[in-house]
Assembly symmetry: C2
Homo-oligomer: 326 residues x 2
């Protein structure tokens, strides 16, 4: 049966504040380079006050994936909670302007729209500090089962396990997708997020996930394995399809006995924010349009390379043109 | 007498929303490429709804100049009116984070922080649509004469002539600067802005301006001359010092009988937003630190080249390092 959407993303709706900083800034603020840390509003205010000048842009892991997939021509919807404020308006505008259906109602009179304070170091690594704000109120009631049933793939970000109500929303979406005969994809998001919720993630991966996205640190954290190869084999056993990324070492796609190795696209690394999100977008855009796995992997790598070649997690050039020759 | 500040900028405090668009988008919306148009809140909302995804960053002509000058090591203060809202907080943060003293109180319970919707076409040209918001309430009362007296140069943007109360604030600042034996600089900002206020500009230039910044379109509009050379000679007669820019043809600096030609710094043009602002910043940073005119012009050109090599009007790399060899 044809669905209205190829991809439905569900995640924390966040506006990014991106600033450049050196490594001493990170160590002075006890930040773990490359990771995502949750902070409360007071900590967000204190950190912001010490941050260099920033640039604001819509972010959020699954939201970035949706934006990139839409830019690649996929039919995309998104569910996530912003507040009824200026940054919420910015987030909504950017989703709709790129062609993503975004029916979620905003939060009135509660917390403000979530912000992620991102420090990009000279090596292009991004270190994230997230104030979840309105995202904390995202709940089961925000998941339309009809919408889930009308998407070929429901794509869920691991970060959604942090706000407790969202975890239930997550399970509801997975159940509704399978009940409608559709697929569930999960991105593990962050090794420390995996650490915080390992048991829940493992259960979900074994029972509910058809397509798993993870980088090396995340998949080895999930299975508490030191070796990428061993962790990858466990993922192969647990899910129908796994796409595992290894930064400049490329990625590997596992489906049953099949193994596809994809080289990373050469690029200048400016800001790695959104690299994994863009990879998942390219992969799912390819998959839902019936492309073979090596082509899905190539589109994924090209999308990721574009996003890390500039500041910000959303594409700045015409991605459709970029993948024309694939 | 030593002043506390080298430069005091006074201008419209604006947050930019930058999006990429093609020329058909401009013609469909009846926009004049390269110009700045004032729009009301309804028009801003309508235009925003049709705009591609954007990136937000602090802007405002004189504010950009202040940010770049501070990045170059100058001691800088700024006066301008934001609202007590999220974008106002962003604007304030970015000024303070780059080291600009920004004592202006925000507007409570009135219009929102000003926004400039900027469309950047593939040729790198920017076309601006400004909703002035809280800037309209900037008035004489917002100009501290003590602060003006404590800055070697008070730098005023021509755009400030659009909100009527600001025009009086402008005159107050000029009078206070001269009473304290300090200098007044003016940037003409935009040829259509000059057109709207030609008589007032001409009077100001003749009576109150020591240092004039203008590009070719602006200075020819001011004097209603077809030839740049003729307009430049009239500027030479009217002000003690004029720095006139001609895009890739470089700039010319006039002081009494002296004429200094400055080549443009070669660069890749991505987004011309803030080019003139950065030029003025480099020039004034050089001038107030006692550099000879050819060096002031070189610093100005280097700062402008950095700003047009990426999206956004504020520097993205260490400008002090960039001018170390000048």
């Amino acid at each position: 049966m044809t669905t209205r959407f190829d991809i439905l993303g569900i995640g924390n709706a966040i506006v990014d504040v991106v600033a450049q900083a050196d490594d001493t800034f990170l160590s002075r603020h006890d930040m773990r380079k490359g990771s995502m840390t949750l902070i409360d509003p007071e900590a967000a205010e204190t950190l912001y006050a010490t941050m260099p000048p920033g640039q604001e842009s819509s972010g959020g892991s699954a939201a970035n994936t949706c934006a990139v997939a839409a830019a690649l021509g996929a039919r995309v919807a998104y569910l996530g909670k912003v507040a009824n404020d200026q940054l919420g308006t910015v987030f909504r505008h950017d989703m709709m302007a790129i062609g993503v259906h975004f029916p979620s109602t905003p939060l009135y009179g509660g917390a403000s729209t979530a912000r992620c304070l991102i420090l990009v170091t000279p090596d292009g690594q991004r270190t994230m500090n997230t104030y979840l704000g309105a995202c904390v109120s995202f709940s089961e009631a925000d998941v339309s089962e009809a919408l889930v049933a009308d998407a070929a793939v429901s794509y869920l970000e691991g970060y959604l396990f942090d706000p407790p109500a969202a975890q239930r929303a997550f399970r509801r979406a997975a159940a509704a997708a399978h009940a409608a005969g559709q697929q569930v994809a999960l991105s593990l998001s962050d090794p420390f997020c995996v650490d915080r919720h390992r048991a829940a993630f493992l259960e979900l991966v074994k029972q509910d996930v058809d397509i798993l996205f993870a980088n090396e640190a995340e998949v080895t954290s999930l299975y508490e394995e030191n070796s990428f190869e061993t962790a990858a084999e466990r993922a192969r056993a647990d899910v129908a399809l796994a796409a595992l990324t290894r930064s400049e070492a490329g990625s590997v796609i596992l489906r049953g006995d099949e193994t596809v190795e994809i080289a990373a696209e050469p690029t200048r690394v400016v800001d790695t924010t959104g690299a994994g999100d863009a990879y998942a977008a390219g992969f799912l855009a390819g998959l839902t349009s019936g492309k073979p796995l090596p082509v899905c992997g190539r589109i994924a790598s090209i999308a990721a390379a574009e996003v890390i070649s500039h500041f910000g997690a959303r594409p700045q050039i015409d991605l459709k043109k970029l993948i024309r020759s694939v």
